[in-house]
């Protein structure tokens, strides 16, 4: 869901840069130096995840997992996703430098939103609430990212309206798969490493 360079208008680029700068500042403030390797290594895993292609019918999609990033990292999702996007620009010339702000915001804002909306339900005793919350976090993260991408396109020119809708519709299968993957991953982490979800080691 990255917009490449040269598509968006100046004000949209500036808006994205301001939002991401604020998010990065907040996220970095929340990471103490002793947590820095932790966030860096988790970001590395999420970058590896984005290189994995899952088959969907005749085609395939790659994982984004920004919902899971948000559930685990909260505001630190901003720096975590930002380093990945910078590396993509440097390594594959995907996206670019001036769109970094917009691309970071479209990925990280839904992640942080998911953290506030759904993370509290992950810590409950039962199994149903965490599964539903985790599915919703994965689903909504992709949905909101697609919507934000579409909105930034539309704000750059009304001619982009069709393309904006197409992005949201094309991401529908991705939303469901991300929901399933996030739910299963959260169940796994609850059993194996509850600390990652902000839970004490022995909750259940």
């Amino acid at each position: 869901m990255h917009i490449s360079e040269g598509v968006l208008s100046g004000p949209v680029l500036a808006g994205g840069a301001v939002i991401s700068a604020a998010g990065l500042a907040l996220g970095l403030k929340n990471i103490d130096y002793d947590k820095l390797p932790r966030v860096a290594l988790l970001s590395a895993v999420f970058f590896v995840a984005s290189l994995i292609h899952l088959p969907v019918g005749p085609s395939s999609i790659h994982l984004v997992l920004n919902g899971l990033v948000g559930l685990i990292l909260g505001w630190a999702a901003f720096p975590a996703l930002f380093v990945g996007l910078v590396l993509q620009a440097v390594l594959f010339q995907f996206g670019g430098l001036t769109v970094l702000g917009v691309n970071t915001a479209t990925m990280a804002l839904p992640a942080v939103l998911g953290y506030y909306l759904f993370a509290p339900f992950l810590r409950g005793g039962g199994k149903t609430a965490p599964v539903i919350a985790a599915f919703a976090a994965g689903f909504c993260a992709i949905l909101f990212s697609a919507v934000l991408t579409g909105v930034s396109l539309y704000l750059s020119g009304e001619a982009f309206l069709g393309a904006a809708w197409a992005i949201v519709v094309a991401n529908l299968p991705g939303m469901i798969i991300e929901g399933v993957v996030t739910a299963v991953a959260v169940l796994f982490l609850r059993k194996v490493k509850p600390e990652l979800l902000g839970m004490g080691p022995y909750v259940e």
């Binding site: 895993v45 994995i52 001619a159 309206l161 299963v184 194996v192």
Partner: protein, 270 residues
């Protein structure tokens, strides 16, 4: 059959993934100071992002091709990335020239040809390629670690740079870990398909990777403490600025000013 031949037959079916780093360019661009390249490519991206005349965007594409030729990166990389970038622009060509018009009912959807959309698609494609080519020639010609070091020298906050360096260092480790797990799955007969089982398996694979990364990060931090880490990540690479870098910056500055003047001097392009 010779031993080498039988080994070749027994080689794993999984192709080794390409390394996640930039190859050093053959041309003189590879030897330029990464700081100079970063500043120039950022200014160039900004200028191109704000460009609204197709003539200037086309000039940018020509400039970009010149830079790529100067960098001598190799055709394979160039073509594959050019295709990747233009998948997005191709998608825009599909949608931009048409405007959805709502009829009386929902079923009365009609597509109306929109010439402005076509012009926009052309402009956007030129701009996207101009920036892509410059990025490829200037950033794709330096190893990633050099670029992150250059960012530190350009006063990007140290916490962010430390995170970049750790992220990039352990990206390779985690990817290797993933490939090992993936191979183990393949040995056990895992066949990915469009089914719930595949998605669940991958989710658990991600879970294992996350757990291992967390545990590793604790060991990494302890090792850093042992080596006296106190919040400062000391940089060992200090670039030496050469006369060629000054020349490159001056030339690029001149080109950028000319491009900016061409666009904003009030000359009408239509």
């Amino acid at each position: 059959m010779s031993e080498a031949a039988s080994q070749a037959q027994a080689a794993p079916r999984v192709k080794p993934a390409p390394t996640l780093d930039n190859a050093l360019a053959m041309g003189p661009v590879g030897r330029l100071d990464p700081r100079a390249k970063l500043v120039v490519v950022f200014a160039y991206s900004l200028l191109m992002a704000l460009a609204y005349s197709p003539v200037m965007a086309a000039l940018g594409v020509l400039l970009g091709f010149g830079l790529v030729a100067w960098a001598r990166l190799g055709w394979k990389v160039f073509i594959s990335r050019l295709v990747a970038v233009n998948l997005f622009t191709a998608f825009l060509w599909l949608f931009l020239p048409w405007q959805i018009s709502l009829g009386q009912s929902v079923w009365g959807l009609g597509l109306v040809y929109n010439p402005d959309g076509l012009a926009l698609a052309l402009l956007v494609t030129l701009k996207a390629n101009a920036v892509f080519l410059a990025l490829l020639a200037l950033l794709g010609s330096s190893p990633v670690n050099d670029i992150f070091h250059a960012l530190a020298h350009l006063k990007v906050p140290s916490k962010l740079v430390t995170m970049f360096l750790l992220f990039y260092r352990y990206l390779h480790v985690m990817r290797h870990e993933y490939q090992r797990l993936r191979q183990a799955m393949q040995v056990r007969g895992f066949q990915p398909g469009s089914n719930l089982r595949t998605y669940k398996t991958y989710a658990q694979l991600m879970g294992i990777l996350l757990v291992r990364s967390l545990e590793r990060s604790e060991r990494v931090y302890q090792a850093m403490l042992c080596r006296g880490f106190g919040g400062t990540f000391w940089l060992l690479d200090h670039f030496s600025w050469r006369r060629a870098d000054t020349g490159f910056c001056l030339m690029s500055g001149l080109v950028l000013i000319v491009l900016a003047l061409l666009q904003w001097s009030g000359i009408s392009w239509n």
